[in-house]
């Protein structure tokens, strides 16, 4: 078939066919381009449209040339000749089809109007939802920065983004979360009816250190799978640009007393020297830092602390847990100074990020569970000490992409916030810039840390140093720091016993999920050669034990932890109250002799179901003392019920067995896990 020249012998029929063909081509391709490219930017839609315009005559020509069975040697010439004729035809028809072209352009413009007026922002004033995960210790400052960004970028009335910020700095959560669709560790995506997430999947992750970002990225590189899971357990793609930082903040030692008063000391000095000075002043008893398993900053500070305490890593770790109330992160550590009822002793010193201390001093919210004091004047003043060895946190901004949740428009909005934050570090909220500089005048966020009676004001510059400081072998990476920390902890033999009576699911904050969350974190923190098992108790069924698991080394360790966590997550309610004394007594008889801890997670139960001589705490204590085989058994009662340890059978049993009841209802689950782990470390014989 030959292509007819314009006005050829086909007459009216041929002209109609050409016209319909042309209208179909322009309208069809334009319509397809508009419909298929609905999520593209204006530029890319234009490219698509032009691409179609070019491709169609080429394909037409090729098809028609091949159909005519032109000899191979004549093919190029025949192709070019036909292409020329087709283009001539199209150009000719274009002139005649101007109304149709105009109509197509009008329709196309109407469909794309928002892109013409709004660039890549999509629908008029439809903000992109940007999800950000940060450390609890940075949450207050970075939330304020995000708020400022939204204000800054809404000058024309349209908002660019809605930013939702959540907190998490547990390295184990982050490693497993990024590798498994941001599901909580131990969740079986394929088989569970309920798969709890760690929160909204982050588009940006702002860890406290570049080391943490590298640690997680290395884990993702090693993790199995290619990001094409079952939709639930997708692996994230992380983009770390070390130049993009939200600002820096040094770790500091802080105490209620001023050990420098009148000494004339200025600027940062050696950590050991600071600790010695505090010890001489009697304000280093104890020294507390958050749980390294759930606080990235605490883990990063640990090698320097071990070296400065100079008593051997094991003894140093025990000293750092002497308080027995080690919380999940520095916000909870500082929050205790706001709580009148459980305020720490005056001699305590704490290791915290400077920006979190500034939040505390300015009576801001700390993390997610510590509101400001109603009476700001009642706050206790903490004095910071700057050192040469404690790390300077550098807060890299890592861009994250999740399969199925990534589009060009969203990515543009996310990148824009990332770039803005990197160029506007929140120095007004207690951060320093990328070089470690910040205004420290009296009315600045860091200025509130200055004590006018002291000679050494807040240093205006604390430049970040490369890597960590401490003993060789502990500072090369966060993984190395974690290995040293784990080696310093005594091995533990734990039985986690869950009360599964009906009341554990009845309160507004159901106690069973809380107990499960706490247990998950304890399992996540387990070290090689720890032995863990779990059990359930209620009435009338007998106590049910699972097999103990001895934590292995290497890749198997994570598998074991996942299996334990999955088992714990599947625990459900059954039966009624079994008196606590009876439950402990039953379990005592089943446990093998040896140094071990029985951790009882309960809502406290009612007095009525714990009545009777057999169930009295005193009798239980007698039986425990009389059991020679179990002389090394420690019973830790953790109350996850609404009234904590204030009264009831949980408190009575804790008092009777000599291990005070642990309030697992307050603060975050990580805080409660921290209290349990520090109690285990502190009460395990060395």
């Amino acid at each position: 078939m030959a292509v007819d020249a314009p006005g050829g012998p086909d007459g009216g029929k041929a002209r109609r066919e050409r016209l319909f063909g042309w209208l179909g081509w322009v309208g069809g391709t334009g319509g397809i381009a508009a419909a298929l490219g609905a999520d593209l930017s204006f530029r890319n839609r234009l490219l698509l449209f032009i691409g179609v315009l070019v491709a169609v005559p080429l394909v037409m020509t090729l098809g028609l040339t091949l159909r005519d069975r032109v000899p191979k040697r004549d093919l190029p010439r025949a192709f070019l000749r036909r292409l020329g004729r087709i283009c001539a035809l199209l150009l000719h028809q274009s002139a005649r089809a101007i109304p149709a072209i105009l109509a197509t352009v009008l329709v196309w413009t109407a469909v794309h109007w928002s892109f013409v007026t709004n660039g890549a922002s999509g629908k008029s004033c439809e903000p992109a939802d940007v999800r950000v995960t940060v450390s609890p210790e940075s949450l207050t400052a970075l939330k304020a920065a995000a708020h400022r960004y939204v204000e800054d970028k809404s000058g024309d009335g349209c908002r660019k983004a809605t930013i939702t910020m959540t907190a998490n700095s547990s390295i184990s959560d982050l490693r497993e979360g990024f590798a498994n669709g941001w599901l909580e560790p131990g969740v079986e995506g394929d088989t569970s009816e309920r798969v709890p997430m760690l929160g909204p999947r982050p588009d940006l992750w702002i860890p406290q250190t570049t080391l943490a970002a590298k640690d997680v990225i290395a884990h993702l590189d090693e993790a199995q799978g290619d990001g094409q899971g079952d939709g639930l357990r997708e692996k994230a793609l992380l983009d770390l640009d070390e130049k993009k930082t939200a600002g820096t903040s040094p770790m500091v030692v802080a105490s209620l007393s001023d050990a420098y008063r009148g000494s004339g000391s200025t600027g940062p000095e050696g950590l050991q020297s600071v600790l010695n000075r505090l010890r001489q002043q009697g304000v280093l008893d104890p020294l507390a830092r958050a749980l390294p398993d759930t606080s990235e900053s605490a883990l990063a500070a640990t090698p320097a602390l071990y070296q400065a305490l100079a008593s051997g890593d094991g003894a140093a770790e025990r000293f750092l847990n002497k308080d027995r109330l080690v919380p999940g992160d520095a916000t909870a550590l500082l929050c205790r100074f706001r709580e009148q009822s459980s305020a720490p002793p005056g001699g305590i010193a704490v290791v915290v990020p400077e920006n979190t201390l500034a939040d505390y001093a300015r009576n801001k919210e700390l993390g997610t569970a510590c509101p400001p004091l109603a009476n700001a004047a009642a706050a206790k003043r903490l004095v910071p000490y700057y050192t040469e060895e404690l790390p300077v946190l550098d807060h890299p901004i890592v861009q994250v992409r999740w399969p199925g949740e990534d589009s060009e428009k969203r990515r543009a909005a996310i990148s824009e916030f990332r770039d803005w934050l990197a160029s506007h570090p929140p120095t007004e909220e207690g951060f320093r810039d990328a070089n470690g500089s910040a205004p420290t005048g009296p009315k600045t966020a860091l200025g509130v840390l200055t004590d006018p009676t002291r000679n050494n004001a807040v240093p205006p510059r604390m430049p970040p140093h490369e890597g960590l400081k401490g003993a060789k072998g502990c500072v090369e990476s966060l993984k190395a720091a974690r290995a040293c920390y784990e080696a310093a902890r005594p091995n533990a033999v734990l039985t986690l016993a869950f009360d599964i009576s009906g009341s554990m699911g009845q309160t507004a904050k159901p106690a069973l999920p809380r107990a499960q969350d706490i247990a998950q974190r304890i399992v996540a923190a387990a070290r090689t050669r720890d032995q863990i098992r779990w059990a359930t108790f209620s009435s009338p069924a007998p106590v049910a034990f699972e097999q103990p698991v001895t934590i292995a080394t290497g890749p198997k360790q994570q598998e074991q932890k996942n299996a334990l966590q999955a088992g714990i997550r599947k625990i459900t309610l059954r039966g009624g109250d079994r008196a606590l004394a009876d439950a402990v007594d039953s379990m005592r008889g089943t446990l093998r002799p040896g140094v071990q801890h029985l951790v009882v997670l309960t809502d406290g139960q009612t007095a009525r179901t714990n009545a009777g001589a057999r169930y009295s705490p005193g009798k239980l204590a007698e039986r425990l003392r009389g059991d020679k085989a179990q002389s090394d058994l420690r019973v830790l009662v953790v109350s996850v019920g609404p009234d904590g340890c204030s009264a009831g059978p949980a408190k009575a049993i804790g008092d009777a067995v000599g291990e005070p009841c642990i309030d697992g209802s307050a603060g975050t689950a990580a805080d409660a896990a921290g209290k349990i782990i520090s109690s285990v470390i502190e009460s395990t014989p060395s």
Binding site: G63, R131, S154, G157, T162, G189, P371, A374
Partner: protein, 447 residues
């Protein structure tokens, strides 16, 4: 007209040309996802995007177990977190990227308009909604956008008043309540919007003014701001100050300015007799389970005029689901009469259906409660009477696709009034009206 072979050839060639071009552009520009082969979140079975299950005895999970047993297909609850704004953020981000991960979405009632307007929801088919006339009108209407049903109401809520102490009297009027002081949830989250709207609507009703910031009434005049919104927010502040004054020098376990619903319960449990709290119906059952309270409290509808914000959650089918029909069947099951009744009598969730609001005992097997941990039949009956009365006076928040922006702006304005003082004046009526109107249009507004 017959189509010539040439025309046919042109049409086929056009399609052949478009397909590879499209594929190339898809990869280059990341229309579906940025990397080749990343997919949209395909999965087996059905996935529901939800907040954490805090129903008493975990009844939601129980329903899903039943579905899985009966249907042989698997439903997975993806629990984003406890907070409604976090859940919305996750679902909205996924929807913006056209993720097919979620088949069924659980939306806070005001969120339906936002998701429907964005084209993220599949219109509800008649086969996905059992007996529509059995639903209470306000929750059923909350599932509609521009006259079309996009979501089916699953749970509903209305504000109730809780008074600590057995036989303690409940304030008889809104004014008496404000003067007595009452515990509210005023930290920066949706609860602040709810409590502020309660106060504004009741003040407005007392003054017999037309509705403001209620349902489809989404235009605020300067008069509305001056006569209703600012006075209502001042009532909220007065209630807060009286509550603080009642607590005395020792203060409250949890101050309302830093409290959400659960914090308020904590405060209530520790507070002396006579303390008054505004909260949702689920609190009734949980107070019985709290050893510090048990049956030592009274519950009633809000005092006259008694208007309250309509709460609750709707179920919707994602427009990007690859399993829409099955997802629709699941919505039918979860919002059916049997499921609604179970959620109410065993889980404490007020039902969206008239037929489910009864005092049948919970038939659930397995977990057992001690007698003192649950209400007597008489207390349950009395509670149902108050709940029905509260439901009749519950109204939807502004129905707009920009609700989340409105709520954030409104909270900022409420904060400005609550924190006002000699050094920080409250916003002017003009400023307030301008900010709220901008947010209701989807533009940035700020007091």
């Amino acid at each position: 007209m017959t189509i010539s072979r040439r025309t046919l050839a042109v049409a086929v060639a056009s399609l052949v040309a478009v397909a590879p071009t499209w594929l190339v552009m898809d990869r280059v520009a990341g229309v579906r996802s940025a990397e080749p082969g990343l997919g949209c979140g395909e999965h087996n079975g059905l996935v529901i995007g939800v907040d954490s299950d805090v129903s008493l005895g975990f009844q939601r999970r129980g329903l899903l177990k039943l579905w899985n047993q009966w249907h042989g297909s698997k439903v997975t609850l993806m629990e984003v977190g406890l907070k409604v704004d976090q859940q919305r953020s996750q679902l909205a981000a996924a929807a913006q990227a056209r993720s097919c991960l979620y088949d069924v979405l659980i939306l806070d009632t005001p969120g339906t308009a936002e998701f429907a307007e964005g084209g993220h929801l599949e219109p509800i088919k008649s086969t996905w909604m059992e007996d529509p006339d059995d639903f209470f009108d306000p929750p059923r209407e909350s599932g509609k956008w521009q006259g079309k049903q996009y979501a089916v109401p699953w749970t509903t809520d209305a504000g109730l008043l809780y008074v600590k102490g057995k036989g303690k009297a409940v304030p008889g009027s809104w004014e008496a309540l404000v003067n007595a002081g009452y515990a509210t949830q005023l930290v920066d989250y949706e609860g602040l919007t709810v409590n502020a709207l309660d106060a504004v609507w009741n003040r407005n009703e007392q003054q017999r003014r037309p509705p403001v910031l209620m349902g489809t009434d989404t235009k605020v005049t300067v008069d509305d701001a001056r006569e209703s919104i600012l006075p209502g927010l001042r009532d909220l502040k007065a209630g807060l100050e009286h509550q603080r004054a009642r607590a005395g020098a020792g203060g409250m376990a949890k101050d309302p300015r830093t409290s959400d619903e659960l914090d308020s319960i904590e405060m209530f449990a520790q507070a002396p007799d006579g303390t008054v709290m505004r909260n949702w119906p689920f609190v009734f059952r949980s107070l019985f389970a709290d050893p510090r309270v048990r049956d030592r409290f009274e519950v009633s509808r809000l005092p006259a005029p008694g208007l309250s914000v309509l709460g609750g959650q709707n179920l919707a089918v994602s427009a990007y689901s690859r399993h829409k029909e099955e997802a629709g069947e699941l919505v039918y099951f979860l919002t059916g009469k049997t499921s609604e009744n179970r959620l109410f009598v065993c889980g404490g969730y007020p039902p969206t259906r008239k037929s489910a609001l009864n005092d049948n005992p919970c038939q659930e097997q397995g977990a057992r409660l001690e007698p003192e941990e649950q209400p007597t039949p008489e207390r349950r009956n009395k509670f149902i009477v108050e709940l029905k009365a509260a439901m009749e006076k519950a109204h939807p928040r502004p129905i707009t696709p920009h609700y989340s922006q409105f709520s954030e702006t409104f909270r900022g304005c409420a904060d400005a009034v609550l924190d006002s003082g000699p050094d920080a004046p409250e916003p002017s009526p003009e400023k307030l009206a301008e900010a709220l109107n901008a947010s209701l249009r989807g533009e940035h507004g700020s007091c």
